[in-house]
């Protein structure tokens, strides 16, 4: 659809762009990224024909843009520049109607039904129809931006060039506009080339990214190929971390600030732990990075408080999320800063062990109720579920874990737990084989992210070794406590 070949150019004698080439296929969205001053807007001006390059060609549907008449070109391509102020006010309807200019030719050409339809549709897509007869000057910056987007859509061309289209918009409208543009791209074969400031929006919505640096193409390809930590760090001179988007297979980045933390040591000691009547708690003065399968705030996050709450066997399981939330509030915990587990085991039977290792101290906390232990390899034969009995394990590490290390720590801890069950001869009552766990086991790995970096957490690493030993010993002791109480 659009082919940019070896474009070089700039303002007067200062060269800004240097040998830029890329193509945008029909029905695809290309995002242009780069630091301030790298030439993104200039490139857009050259593509739209407003500026002439000193070298290279721009072709639309195979034909050089110089060969199109102004009107024909306007029917093929629309550019939406950054926000302008106009001297005189018009209504939203009139402003959007300007977009129909290239479709009105002839001496007396009048406004047709098709024109009106295009205008109405454009206003609906950008959610400004309710402002149809309002004057532009009375709308907010974001609303005005949407009106100009509508103007571009009314032009109904097959190639849309956008320069930071979502600059002034709140997230609701950013999403709405980009969702809408994306829909036009996938359903109606619209081709879009857009300059973005927001790397995450570009990664999320674009099929391809053109990363520019100092007027040159630094990288060009799919978002996951272009948005790489090292590459972004070099181009933007900013440290970032790449994560997976929770729903879309696209990379998302977060800035890693260079914040000067206080010099005081961020260390967890046994003083932070307490066994209370209804729960076991760990209260830290600073947040720890956590990966868990808890009842409250499972997943990955930063939390400062941890509780393992004991409930009666007849606890009503249906409203557990709301009830737990209210419980936390009642006990004076901040629900957004706390990870909460649940067990039927009495808090007196909880086991807290600490291990001093060269890189710091590691704590293991276990409560084990093995009333309904299950052999996971045979559990497919079951069709009834019990709620009593749970093995909850916490591993608190004074150290810095990589993402890999978190996962491997969980694997190591789970292997150690199963070994403990084997050691204590805990049986699956139905299959009559050694159990591997209970149906509702929960595991939590928390690290201060301070201190030595541990890249891996497997069984033969330093941290893996202490986890293996600690979880085994603590779980064995917890099972024994549990059984003692039964007698």
């Amino acid at each position: 659809m659009l082919e940019v070949q070896n474009i070089s150019g700039g303002y007067g004698s200062t060269p800004i762009l240097s040998d830029i080439s890329f193509r945008a296929e029909k029905g695809k969205m290309v995002g242009i990224l780069g630091p301030n001053g790298c030439g993104k807007s200039t490139l857009l001006k050259v593509i739209s024909g407003i500026m002439s390059p000193t070298f290279g060609t721009i072709s639309i549907e195979g034909m050089n843009i110089n060969k199109y008449s102004a009107r024909e070109l306007a029917k093929k391509m629309t550019i939406l520049p950054q926000l302008h102020a106009t001297a005189f006010s018009s209504t939203v309807h009139d402003a959007v109607s300007i977009g129909r200019y290239p479709h009105q030719s002839g001496f007396f050409s009048s406004w047709g039904a098709e024109d009106e339809r295009a205008v109405k549709k454009a206003m609906q897509l950008t959610d400004v129809e309710k402002y149809e007869h309002h004057y532009l000057e009375y709308l907010s910056g974001g609303e005005q931006q949407r009106v100009f987007i509508a103007q571009a859509l009314a032009q109904a061309s097959s190639l849309l060039l956008l320069d930071e289209p979502t600059n002034h918009l709140d997230i609701a409208h950013q999403k709405q506009i980009l969702d809408m543009i994306r829909k036009e791209v996938t359903e109606n074969q619209l081709t879009v080339v857009s300059v973005f400031h927001d790397i995450n929006l570009a990664a999320l919505y674009c099929d391809e990214i053109l990363l520019m640096e100092k007027g040159k193409v630094k990288a060009y390809g799919a978002p996951h190929e272009v948005i790489l930590e090292e590459q972004i760090k070099n181009v933007y001179e900013t440290r970032i971390s790449i994560q997976a988007h929770p729903e879309q297979p696209k990379p998302q980045m977060t800035i890693l600030p260079d914040l000067q933390e206080e010099m005081e040591e961020k260390v967890i000691t046994s003083n932070h732990f307490e066994i209370k009547g209804e729960y076991v708690e760990l209260k830290s003065d600073f947040p720890l990075k956590v990966l868990s399968s808890a009842v409250h705030n499972a997943g990955m996050g930063w939390y400062a408080n941890f509780i393992n709450r004991t409930v009666k066997p007849d606890y009503e399981i249906h409203n557990v999320k709301e009830e737990y939330f209210e419980y936390l509030v009642k006990e004076g915990f901040s629900p957004t800063n706390t990870v909460g587990m649940m067990t039927a085991v009495d808090t007196k039977k909880a086991v807290i062990k600490n291990y001093k290792v060269p890189f710091g101290e590691v704590f293991v906390v276990v409560t084990a109720g093995v009333g309904n232990a299950v052999d996971v390899s045979q559990s497919y034969k079951r069709n009834n579920y019990f709620h009593v009995g749970t093995i909850n394990t916490w591993i608190i590490i004074n150290g810095k874990l990589s993402d890999e290390a978190f996962v491997q720590a969980m694997m190591t801890a789970t292997e150690a737990k199963s070994k403990a069950l084997q050691h204590e001869e805990v049986y699956d009552a139905i299959s009559n084989t050694i159990a591997t766990g209970t149906p509702t086991d929960s595991l939590l790995i928390a690290a201060t992210q301070n201190g030595m970096l541990m890249q891996y957490g497997g069984p033969i690493t330093e941290v893996g070794q202490v986890i293996g030993k600690g979880v085994f010993e603590a779980t064995v002791e917890a099972i024994q406590n549990y059984r003692k109480g039964d007698k």
Binding site: S48, I50, A74, P81, A87, I98, Y101, P102
Partner: protein
């Protein structure tokens, strides 16, 4: 549909006001003559003669001048994207004035055409100034951005204005004639003046009207207009040429009448909107009405003396404008 009805009302009311203004302008005067005399040469031959050779050409001239200034003002405001722009911003009027004032100052007179030398030189002055202003602006800035045009206009109107001041300073007996010409008037001109201005009005209006949609597009910036398919350079030239022609001709025949070219477009815009497809025509009609009425007042209010029309335009125009302004702001806010 709401917009359509509004526009129908706009056009019909403007036309109605114009017709009423013409009727008043023709009928009222030092001797009130019934309008029917226009087509009745027998009943009152002297009245018939007054109407046709004195009042009618005066009303028509006032109408054409007012219309020209208003439509040129609307076009320049749209093109320069500046609410303070008026037909005189680019200096064309100063050029016309220099031509006219020089004629008075040097006592110039071309044999065959005699007293029409003044408006002729006025037009020549306007034409030369237009060429100079456009060439100069283009030399500085190929794309002729509005700031360039405005500043070039400032340069030329200042320079030419000082030429006029110089002539005023050096003159003796012609002072009164010069200043009264500068204040503007449509009296004692006659049909020849109408014939002089008519062709320019026609060409100028056609040029502007052909670019009505482009004026709309250019409101959003030259770049956006370009990307909409407007040949911005060519259209700018056309609009500038049309507006300058209208202004130059109007000033050459009637002097520098102020207020109309600045304010009638604003009043029209406030009432009926910024769409140049309608704004140009409506400004044309309303400019004509305003000047006809102002001329009527200027010759009747202290009859038999006449006040300079430039005084009356602001006198009547300002309160009308403030009323419209007030009403519009209240309803929009």
């Amino acid at each position: 549909m709401k917009m359509k009805k509004k526009m129908i009302f706009a056009y019909s009311s403007s036309i109605a006001i114009l017709l009423i203004s013409i009727w008043l302008g023709v009928s009222i005067g030092s001797a009130d003559v019934p309008f029917s005399t226009l087509w009745d040469s027998e009943t009152n031959p002297s009245a018939y003669s007054i109407l046709w050779s004195i009042r009618m050409p005066r009303v028509v001239l006032a109408g054409l001048v007012g219309a020209s200034l208003a439509i040129a003002g609307a076009a320049f405001q749209g093109l320069l994207k500046n609410p303070l722009a008026d037909p005189y911003t680019l200096g064309i009027s100063s050029g016309a004035s220099v031509g006219a004032v020089a004629t008075i100052f040097f006592g110039l007179s071309i044999p065959v055409i005699g007293s029409y030398t003044l408006p002729l030189f006025g037009m020549v002055g306007a034409f030369i100034t237009m060429i100079l202003v456009l060439s100069f602006a283009r030399l500085i800035d190929r794309s002729m951005k509005m700031e360039t045009l405005i500043l070039t206009g400032v340069i030329f109107s200042s320079f030419l204005g000082s030429c006029i001041s110089l002539m005023i300073a050096l003159t003796g007996q012609q002072l009164r004639e010069i200043t009264s010409w500068l204040l503007g008037s449509v009296s004692m001109r006659g049909w020849p003046y109408v014939q002089m201005i008519a062709p320019f009005v026609v060409i100028g209006v056609i040029l502007l009207w052909l670019n009505r949609r482009e004026l709309n597009a250019m409101m959003y910036g030259d770049e956006r207009a370009q990307s909409l398919g407007v040949n911005v350079k060519r259209r700018k030239y056309a609009i500038l040429a049309g507006g300058s022609m209208l202004t130059g001709a109007a000033v050459a025949v009637s002097g520098t009448i102020g207020f109309v070219g600045l304010v009638v477009p604003h009043m029209t815009r406030m009432l009926w909107g910024t769409d140049h497809r309608h704004l140009l025509t409506l400004a044309f009609l309303n400019g004509a009405s305003l000047l006809i009425v102002c001329d009527l007042v200027s010759r009747t209010i202290i009859a038999p003396s006449e006040l300079p029309i430039g005084v009356i335009t602001a006198f009547i125009g300002a309160p009308v404008f403030s009323y419209i302004f007030f009403k519009q702001r209240r309803s929009r806010g």
